[in-house]
Assembly symmetry: C2
């Protein structure tokens, strides 16, 4: 077969839009099963169920300040005198009932005693001492009800405080704990197999022979996948021969929810992923996506496991991981990931774009007024891993975007600092 | 002693500016020691040394495209014919020397054969077959030198590719691996002890009695500290009695690089952290910081371990963790952390601010044009953990900031999605 007729297994239109490719990838993915996790262990993971508060916050009306719990009616004017009859501290409430003309010493977070309706700030009063029986003299008349936090001000028992699919942060964990929970039902971390392909690859630490390079994609993806909350599973390097991909996947040390390959997506005669996928049956997409870098992408199933075939070029592979793999892992984890797109002022001119959506490696800065300024790297060669490694954002240019000048606003996708 | 004379141990001016407090906190902190780590394990951690490339990238000149390695002089016009004399694939270079009138089939990433100076794209040629001896006919005349990536285009052996203090991301790990490294010298993760204080606290999962609340700060801080790359060490809950703080710290299961306490910083008579700190000697700062929430902060050393005393209120504690603890952990980890401040359009009016720097819990969104819009929560009561948990940003208002109207630009500190 002549080489110029294009890819052998093309099943999609010649150039697939990025959004369409993402839709198709996500469409086949669902989270598998759930597990009960202690809340301290769920940071970055998605809730499988809604969570309702078990407790009200605060559980009873409490003071917002240090001072005295009083009746406003007893404090009509500066000089009014009250008698200290007890003390309510956080964790040590006063259990009596406050009589007329009495004041209860109170501290922030302490329960409001029965009979009190107002907090007299300690700086708005003078006291003859710190013991019961002391005389408290009003200096500033309090507003009735001031500095009292009613029971349930923050959360009422039974309120839905978190919804299924929420990715838990430290602060959401704190909320769930405050509301009486210690654990939650969480979607299991997906197992994501990582398979590099190519005769040119030498494992990290090896010595490249003529024409060989160190394989960095697998380590990159393992770190990326772990940071996204999934479990990376190393499937090794498949060499360029028929059956190698299939046998590496079948030798996986754990059941896989997704297989990610790198390389083997170009039309060179040395690429066998597509043949292996065909041999393993079912669907197969060998896509040319309207994006730069990262045009070739394989999408299919291998032994009924969803497969995403990223380009072998490290920069293309990394960009595609951000665009396709991160949302895919989120979906398998029970969450949704939508990359944040922000407007930034261009620091340099850009020529008109062609029909591929461009992801320019760039540096995003904020000036002293907090305005975003983005500087695309001068060299955008997708083979240059140092440029990508040093970038903190991608300028996203739609297909056929017109020429842009320094000062124009463009859309930018910040790169996660850990990815 | 009357209660109205202010804190007992005040050693700093009545209201300390946030930036000054941070400077003083960071001033005493240095990373301790280093360890050699495998690169796959260093995501989020800071390099202790610079790293130079061991290998050049690419190690030899390679093709950027699929096609034929040729001499440009042999392709003067469409219709020129060449003879296929071999094949150079990624990982399988062609080791001969290309003669006049010859072409070497070549694939992306493959080494350029001796004698070739140009890549003729496969779509710019036709071939009578895929075996040596086939005739290659030029359809489009190539530009001399095109699609050749010279050796060292990306990185040259000996280039400094990473500097000490860099926090490693997946993409920087990939760069270091590509350049021939498998491990790096990394600052050890600091051990950060977490000690809650207060008689009102019930451990997570307990049943609060009258006046009690569930302790959420310790779990929040453990998750926060781990996400910042340090090792959280649970020191339990110190009750409100003299010596409790000291004995909890001394019972720590590991040597500590920092102790973080919550609570005990207000002027209530039930707070004993300050007394314990005094008893343990050395410096002691009991600060009132010009910020809201989070005015009271303790800074000192306990048994010569740096101590940061956050407020007991969960929201104040969390805000102070972002402002003070996160940079402190970065410093102890050999890195620097400067929170990103961005400009965003206010969605609502704000009254003039007083003398305290305000951190308003807020929702930061980007509109379809990528413009930042920020909506402060209607309730800013610092006791309301649900408001903080649901926020994704803080509007930072300097002291005495004038009244602002919807549409004005304000400075915003996005909250880390995991913190």
């Amino acid at each position: 077969m002549p080489m110029n007729e294009g890819p052998k297994h093309q099943t999609a239109p010649p150039l697939l839009a990025v959004a369409d490719a993402l839709d198709r990838i996500l469409n086949g993915l669902v989270p598998s099963d759930t597990e009960i996790c202690k809340l301290q262990d769920v940071r970055g993971r998605a809730l499988a169920t809604d969570i309702a508060a078990r407790l009200s916050l605060p559980p009873a009306a409490v003071s917002a300040m240090d001072g005295y719990a009083v009746r406003a009616a007893d404090c009509p004017a500066p000089g009014a005198r009250l008698t200290r009859a007890g003390e309510s501290a956080a964790g040590r409430p006063w259990n009596g009932s406050m009589g007329k003309g009495e004041a209860i010493r109170i501290f922030t977070g302490a329960v409001i005693p029965d009979g009190a309706d107002t907090i007299l700030l300690q700086e708005d009063a003078s006291a003859t001492g710190e013991t019961d029986g002391a005389t408290i003299t009003v200096k500033e008349v309090p507003r009735k009800g001031q500095f009292i936090r009613p029971a349930g001000l923050d959360v009422s028992a039974g309120d839905m405080i978190l919804t299924a699919g929420t990715v838990m942060s430290a602060r959401l964990i704190a909320l769930a704990i405050s509301a009486g929970h210690t654990e939650a039902s969480i979607w299991r971390r997906p197992n994501v197999g990582i398979l590099s392909t190519g005769d040119e690859l030498v494992p990290p630490g090896g010595t490249p022979g003529p024409g060989q390079i160190i394989s960095s994609n697998a380590t990159y993806l393992a770190s990326f996948i772990a940071a996204c909350g999934a479990v990376p599973i190393d499937l090794g390097i498949a060499r360029d021969r028929p059956g190698a991909v299939l046998s590496c996947v079948r030798a996986a040390p754990a059941p896989l929810d997704l297989v990610v390959t790198t390389g083997g997506a170009s039309v060179g005669v040395h690429d066998h992923i597509v043949d292996d996928l065909s041999a393993s049956g079912t669907e197969l997409g060998f896509w040319k996506i309207a994006m730069r870098p990262g045009k070739p992408l394989i999408h299919g199933r291998i032994d009924d496991i969803p497969l995403l075939g990223l380009p072998g070029n490290p920069v293309s592979s990394a960009v595609c991981a951000n665009i396709f793999l991160r949302p895919a892992i989120a979906r398998l984890s029970g969450a949704d990931h939508h990359p944040q797109m922000i407007a930034a002022r261009l620091a340099i001119d850009l020529k008109a774009n062609d029909r591929r959506q461009d992801y320019l490696r760039a540096t995003l800065d904020y000036d002293s007024q907090g305005r975003a300024v983005v500087t695309p790297a001068r060299k955008q060669d997708s083979s240059m891993i140092s440029i990508y490694a040093g970038a903190n954002a991608l300028v996203v240019r739609p297909p056929f975007d017109e020429a842009r000048q320094a000062g124009d606003m463009v859309m930018v996708m910040p790169l996660d600092p850990l990815l």
